[in-house]
Amino acid sequence: MAYIHKKKRYRSIFILLTLLMLFIIIAGCSIGAANLTVGDALKIILQRVPYIGSILVKKPIAGSSESIIWKVRMPRVLLAGIVGAALAFSGTVYQGLFKNPMAESFVLGVSAGAALGGAVGIIFGIPGILGVGGTGLAAFLGALSAVFLVYQLGGTGGRVSMTRLLLAGIAVNFMLSAMISLLMIFNRQRMDNIIMWTMGSFSNATWDKVLLSAIAVSVGIGVISFFARDLNLMLLGDEEAKNLGVDIEKTKKLLLALSSFIAAIAVSVSGIIGFVGLIVPHAIRMATDPDHRVVLPYSAVVGAIFLILSDTLARTLAGPMEIPVGIITALAGAPFFLYLLSKNRRAM
C-alpha cells in the first residue's frame, strides 16, 4: 500500500516505539552493579520532574540509590539514546542523499576526523569548555574539518557530485587514519587512551553533555525532518527531483551539513561507534517503506533504543569491567543485520 494509506498505522507504531524507548530508558537506569527495581528508577526520575515531582511521588527516595540513578546512570542512558538517534538519523540522510546503501556519516570523514581530533586532544591535553571535555571538543572540530576538506576536494564547483564526494571521503579517511597511527607511534604512552576513546564509550557521560548534545541533535533532526519528501524525490535521481521542484544543490548542501553536524556532535561525546548508522536505517527500510517520512523518525527512536541496549550490555556483561560499546553494536548488530538481509529479498 502507498504511504498515504498506511500513515495512521505508521503513526501508531511510532507512538508504541516511543513508549518502548521511554521504558528502556527507565529500565536501563535500574540495571547495573547496584541493582534497583524499575519502580524505584521510575520514582527517582519522576520526583525530579520540576514543579509536579513532589505531587507525583509522595515518598521521595534519597541517598545513594538516588545519586546512582540521577547522577550516574540517567545521563549515561540518555546520552546513549541521543547518540544512537543522531547516528541512525544521519545515516538515513546520507543513504538517501548518496542513493547508496553503504553510505553513512562516517564515509565523509566524520569518524576519522573525530578520531584524529580526539587523539590530538588526548596527547596535548586540550582544555574543555561548556562541560564538554577538550578531547570531545577537538574531536568535534576534527570531524567538521574532515567533512569540510572532503567537500572541498570532492565538490565540482556548482554541482555536488556524490560519487566524487564518496571517493574523496575514502581517500581522506585513509590519510587521517595514517596520521592517527603516526601520532600513536610517537606517543606510545597515550596509545591505550586513544584506542579506548576511538572504540566509543559513555562512561564519562554528564548532564552537561546530555543537554548540549540534546539541543544540537534536536535542532538538526528537526530541520532535516522538513526535507523528508525532498529526500524521497532525490531517491529517483537528481534530474527527476529537480524537475519536480526540488532545489537539489541547496538541499544537498544543507542536509549534508546538518547530518554531518549531528554525527560530529555524537562522536564528540561518545567516541566512534560504528554500524548504528548503517544497520538501523536498513532494518527499518526492510521492515517498512523507503519513504523518509517513516524511515527518518523511526531511525531516531530505534537508534536510541539500540544504543541504550548496547550500552547497558557494555557496562553489565563483564562488570565491573566495561566493554567498549562499539564492540557490542558490531557483535550484536551484525548477525541481526545479516539475518534480515538473508530473509529479505527486496531491493535496498
Partner: protein, 275 residues
C-alpha cells in the same frame, strides 16, 4: 530583461548554443512552440535532441535570455514555480527503491505542497483521477521495482499529469515499448493534450509515430535545427537523405493522409547504398 510577449507562444528558444570539451553539441538553436500544440523533436542519434529538451526543462542551465517560458526568461522561474509549469518524462526511467506506484504518482503533487504541509484529500483525488485515466489505478499498490516497462511508463505519465502543468516534455516516451503500448501511450497523451489544452514537446525516434501525432516537427542535425514545420514539410526524401543518410520511400498513410516513411532496403534493391 527583454519581454517577448506573445500570448500564443509557450516556449521560445533563441540562439541557444552549447559546447562540451570543444565539441559543439547545440549551435544557434531557434524555435517557437505555440500553446496547446504537439511538437516533435526528431533527428539521428547524437544530434542533440535530449540536450535541447534538457535546456527547455532548465535541467541544463541555459545562458541568460536563450530559453523563454511564456515570454519570460526561464532562469527567472525557480524550483517549485517552474515545476508547476513544466512536467518532464525522462528517458528510460528506472527506480531502484521500493515505492508503490501510488507513492510515485503522488510525488507529482510535490510542487503544489508547501514545505510544512503534506498531501491532502485534494491531492489524493487528483492522483486517483490521473491514475484511472492512465489505467494505472489497478497498479497502485504494486512496487514500481516490479512493474513492466509499459506499466512503469504509464505510471510516470500519471505522475507528470498529477503535476498539473501546462507544458509536458517527454524524451522518447515509447522507445522501449511494444507496438500496442506505443500507440496506446501516444493516444493517451494526444487525447489528454487536446482535452486539457496541454503543450507537448516530445523527442521521438520513430518518424512515422512523429508524423502521425505531431502538428509540428523540429528536425535536428549535428546540433542545429535543420528544418522545422508541418510533418509533410519536414519529412521529405531529401531531408531524410541529408540528415539520416538513407534513401526512403514516402507514401501517404491510408488512414489519415500523414506521410509514411519506408526505408529503401538496399539488399532488395540489388545495390549497396552504404556510403
Amino acid at each position: 530583461m527583454i519581454s517577448r510577449e506573445n500570448p500564443k507562444t509557450a516556449i521560445e528558444v533563441r540562439g541557444l548554443s552549447w559546447q562540451a570539451e570543444d565539441i559543439k553539441i547545440l549551435e544557434g538553436i531557434g524555435l517557437e512552440v505555440s500553446k496547446n500544440s504537439f511538437v516533435g523533436i526528431i533527428g539521428p542519434n547524437g544530434s542533440g535532441k535530449t540536450s535541447l529538451l534538457r535546456y527547455i526543462s532548465a535541467w541544463y542551465k541555459p545562458q541568460a535570455e536563450t530559453v523563454f517560458l511564456y515570454g519570460g526568461d526561464i532562469l527567472s522561474r525557480r524550483g517549485k514555480e517552474l515545476s508547476r509549469e513544466i512536467a518532464v518524462i525522462a528517458q528510460n526511467m528506472a527506480i531502484e527503491f521500493d515505492f508503490t506506484a501510488m507513492d510515485v504518482v503522488l510525488m507529482g503533487r510535490f510542487p503544489h505542497i508547501s514545505r510544512f504541509g503534506s498531501e491532502g484529500q485534494e491531492d489524493i483525488e487528483k492522483t486517483k483521477n490521473v491514475m484511472e485515466l492512465t489505467g494505472t489505478w489497478d497498479l497502485k499498490d504494486r512496487l514500481v521495482t516490479n512493474l513492466s516497462g509499459g506499466e512503469l511508463q504509464r505510471v510516470m505519465i500519471a505522475r507528470a499529469l498529477a503535476q498539473e502543468t501546462s507544458i509536458l516534455l517527454m524524451d522518447e516516451p515509447i522507445s522501449n515499448l511494444d507496438i500496442s503500448y506505443q500507440v496506446e501511450i501516444m493516444d493517451l497523451i494526444k487525447g489528454y493534450q487536446q482535452e486539457k489544452g496541454l503543450t507537448v514537446i516530445t523527442v521521438l525516434h520513430d518518424l512515422n509515430i512523429a508524423a502521425q501525432y505531431c502538428e509540428r516537427l523540429i528536425l535536428l542535425n549535428k546540433g542545429e535545427v535543420y528544418c522545422q514545420g508541418k510533418p509533410e514539410k519536414v519529412l521529405t526524401k531529401e531531408n531524410i537523405k541529408a540528415v539520416y543518410g538513407i534513401d526512403v520511400h514516402i507514401i501517404e498513410n491510408p488512414s489519415q493522409g500523414f506521410p509514411y516513411i519506408m526505408p529503401v532496403f538496399s539488399i532488395h534493391e540489388g545495390k549497396n547504398n552504404i556510403e
